[in-house]
């Protein structure tokens, strides 16, 4: 069953077309990697999906419901969670409060403290819970950002380059986390780290100059000559 689909999704910034005519179908329960060179339009595409940006044209359907005209907060309430590529935690609020803010909109009030605790334990930040988020290292802020995403118990979790700046053992922990989450949610993962993509993704979508270049299993994508020219060759 298809959870998310886009049709003819296009976004231009002035003269620049960052996303061109993208048709994307994401089945429920899949872990889909979205890859492409820098500036390919990955962040723009997911921003159109989660409502941060309005498309120039095209439609977005989530769980058989047209959501193109829904404001971002309503889409999030429907179960689309987005974690930012540029770390966007609340630096002057405590780690606990950061995650609680994310949780409160989505789970019953009495369950919030326990959910916050377990989300932070899951990313290994439990012992930093009372510190200001701004005091965390960059990598730890990335982990906090991820915790703020999955604590919402979303139906679609969009992660925008979550492993950027993580240490190797943190990346291993991240892979384990995704392997847990894939049992309960659908994941759209923008990722530059090829080992993460190869290991985690059910399927891979490649974006190049705003257009869909290829789609397939990690293996197929790995062997695709066009993709190699556009992306892997440079990486």
């Amino acid at each position: 069953m298809t959870l998310l689909s886009t049709r003819g999704l296009t976004k231009s910034f002035g003269g620049l077309q960052a996303v061109t005519n993208v048709d994307l179908d994401l089945p429920k329960g899949e872990v889909r990697a979205l890859i492409g060179p820098n500036g390919a339009g990955k962040t723009t595409l997911v921003s159109l999906i989660c409502g941060r940006l309005a498309p120039s044209s095209g439609t977005v359907t989530f769980d058989d419901r047209a959501i193109t005209d829904l404001p971002a907060h309503k889409r999030v309430q429907l179960g689309i969670a987005y974690t930012f590529q540029i770390t966007s935690v609340f630096p002057r609020l405590s780690v606990r409060e950061n995650v609680a803010l994310a949780a409160r909109r989505h789970i019953p009030k009495p369950d919030v403290p326990a959910a916050v605790d377990s989300a932070l334990a899951r990313v290994g930040l439990k012992n930093r819970i009372d510190e200001d988020a701004g005091n965390l290292s960059y990598g730890h802020q990335r982990l906090l950002e991820i915790a703020m995403g999955f604590v919402q118990q979303p139906r679609l979790l969009i992660l925008d380059e979550p492993t950027q700046g993580l240490a190797d053992h943190e990346i291993e922990n991240f892979k384990a986390l995704i392997n847990d989450l894939r049992k309960v949610t659908t994941i759209l993962l923008i990722e530059h780290n090829m080992s993460v993509v190869m290991e985690l993704a059910d399927r891979v979508t490649v974006l190049n100059f705003g257009e869909l270049l290829a789609e397939g299993t990690p293996q197929q994508i790995h062997e695709n000559a066009e993709v190699q020219a556009a992306y892997l060759g440079k990486g």
């Binding site: 989660c50 966007s88 609340f90 609020l93």
Partner: protein, 314 residues
């Protein structure tokens, strides 16, 4: 939990102190403190929008005046008694702040400052225009006989102090409860990063709208109380100066702290009071002190206290 007890202890302690002070203060300071408590309530209202939600309004005099004129005009011209007049003041404040919010919240940053300033200025001019009823700049006196609330004569200093205390205590506790509740926590998050809050599923416009109505209504309650307790309504309370005052008080005391508005109002009131006793150039002394404070305590008095000593201050 320990933290909760400390927070509640501190705020109730301040209220107990203010309550007790009325029995020991000489008449002059007794009168001052009543006035300070009313003005601090105004600052508390301002702080909810500026300090906690991060929206810098330059038009709060409009809300203060809505409360003041909602009360005084209905007493003067419609023959209202104090209680319904007070209620009218509150309703006027809520209505005016809702209307201005719907317009001004379409903007942000400097544009928000300008829009609020312009509307407050329009309100001020409206009061001048209807001088037939408002007596413009000169204003009008509300007679002592009309300042009786539930049989209590509010022109009498002891009653007046007590009424000011009740108003202040209510505003302080409302503000404390608000910023500790999830709603208030969300406002703080909006102040820090609105886009992020939106992407967590919050309708940030609705939150800002509610914050502005709460802020405006508290400001209006202070304006109405001011008219009722001190027996005067004049257009100067709607002037831009009265929009700047709460900003200064809150900045001095500590924006985004519950006690900051009171501390800032108290400090500024006595700074001007004391320096004007020493020299006619008292505004100079006040100005220099303010500059020194902004340089060395940029987060305000209570803000610095929180940064350096009491990290748990709300």
């Amino acid at each position: 939990m320990n933290k909760t007890r400390r927070v509640i202890g501190l705020h109730l302690g301040l209220l107990a102190l203010l309550f007790a002070l009325q029995f020991v203060l000489p008449a002059y300071h007794h009168g001052n403190l009543a006035r300070i408590m009313v003005l601090a309530s105004y600052a508390i209202g301002y702080n909810i929008l500026f300090g906690y939600t991060g929206l810098l309004s330059l038009g709060h005099a409009l809300f203060f005046a809505a409360g003041m004129y909602g009360l005084s005009l209905t007493i003067q011209h419609a023959g209202f008694t104090a209680a319904p007049a007070l209620l009218t003041g509150l309703i006027a404040g809520a209505a005016v702040s809702a209307a201005l919010a719907l317009l001004a919240l379409r903007t942000a940053g400097v544009a928000f400052m300008i829009v609020t300033l312009m509307f407050a200025q329009a309100g001020y001019l409206t009061i001048l225009y209807f001088a037939q009823y408002t007596r413009g700049d000169e204003g009008f006196v509300i007679q002592a006989a009309q300042r009786v609330l539930w049989g209590i004569d509010l022109s009498e200093p002891t009653n007046r102090y007590f009424a000011a205390f009740i108003l202040f205590a209510t505003c302080l506790l409302v503000s404390l409860a608000l910023v500790r509740a999830p709603f208030g926590r969300t406002l703080i998050a909006i102040r820090e990063n609105e886009e992020r809050v939106r992407m967590l599923g919050y309708n940030t416009f609705a939150h800002k709208l509610a914050a502005m109505i709460i802020s405006g209504t508290i400001s209006a309650s202070a304006g109405a109380a001011y008219g009722l307790l001190f027996g005067y309504a004049g257009a100067s309370f709607a002037s831009v100066q009265y929009s700047i005052f709460p900003l200064l008080w809150v900045l001095l005391g500590g924006a985004g702290t519950v006690l900051g508005p009171f501390v800032g109002t108290l400090f500024m009131f006595y700074l001007i009071d004391l320096s004007s006793g020493i020299t006619t150039a008292y505004m100079l002394i006040a100005g220099v002190t303010l500059i020194v404070l902004t340089l060395f305590a940029p987060q305000g008095l209570v803000g610095e206290l929180r940064r350096r000593v009491w990290r748990w201050l709300p």
